[in-house]
Amino acid sequence: MSEFIKVFKEGIYKDNPVFRQILGICSTLAVTNLMMNSFVMGVGLMFVTAFSSLTVSVLRLYTPKHIRMMVQTLIISAYVIALDIFLKAYWPSMSKALGPYVGLIITNCIIMGRAEAFAQKNKPLISFFDGLIMGLGYTIVLLAIAFVRELLGFGSIFGIQVLGEQWVNWTLMIMPPGAFFMLGIVIWVTHRFFDDNTDKGGAKS
């Protein structure tokens, strides 16, 4: 059990993929102008990370070492395709809003990173959990950024108007620069308050 708790802690803040490891921010930022989009994206990513970690882990003893990257990519693509088809069939408007960014989950470094760093060496169940928690850590950051952007840009949260009539939309926040500033600020704040002097720093991959 303590194993699970450790994984949980690491995924949520100690090794949070976005602000600790600066991984997978390509698709992070593009969808954060609305909370709903970020939520769906985050859940989708959680699904893909968890199940591809599980599959990689189940197959880890049968996969020859030198082709493992290719196998991992194929596994991830299979789940992303499933997600894409699911969204297209049951939620066409969301599928349209997310556009190519669903497909781009494949190149999201988090999933490959977890498959390579964790699932390759651990048992299926804990790998699944690790993928789930990494996805959750990612979703939380996504939602935090989207919260500020949507609140300031549209005056709403999850599409519900909260700031009232007199609020003037701050259009810059829903444009690309807003996303860069917000992520920069999130990284700043987390470095400032959660740093326990074991700063790994620097961007990887």
Binding site: G24, P100, G103
Partner: protein, 196 residues
Amino acid sequence: MIDIHPMIIFFAAIFTNNMILSNFLGMCSFIAVSGEIKTSLSLGQAVTFVLACTSVINYFVYYSILVPLKLEYLRFIVFIIVIAAFVQLVEMIIERYFETLYYSLGIFLPLITVNCAILGVSLFMIIREYNLFQSFAFGVGSGLGWTLAIVSMAGIRKRIKNAPIPKGLEGPGITLIITGIMALAFLGFSGIVQIQ
């Protein structure tokens, strides 16, 4: 989408629809490699070259293989395999025949496979229904736009190397803030040409 002139798409991909600054693609290597002007220029060249070729290859693969067979939903897997195979091939050719080029580009080529911008361009070109010339223009333009962004970022980072930056902002933090300012500046182009 059919009648846009390829040149318009080309310039739009560089300035108004810049891969990094307005589509957030290729951020990972953008942040990691933008430390030096020379290396970022090499990476930019490699990305532009791979983009120009893979956009055309993927165009043919999609419209002459996947569409007739009604296998459109497999495009993610197929595109990523095409990109990986192409990068591998280029690496081997460069290593064999252009040794000096290999030493400047070589280490970046494997990195390119996982660069979201490459897959992103192929996906955008399918979604926006570009024809062959438009796709090629879009691929080259996106590559040049990406190079422009990463080289200017490397230049700026060199300038601020010795500047006093708040501790928490060092590294990726300040890079993102600068990217935001650059994106702001690039918004000024948005009136010139616009796609989507």
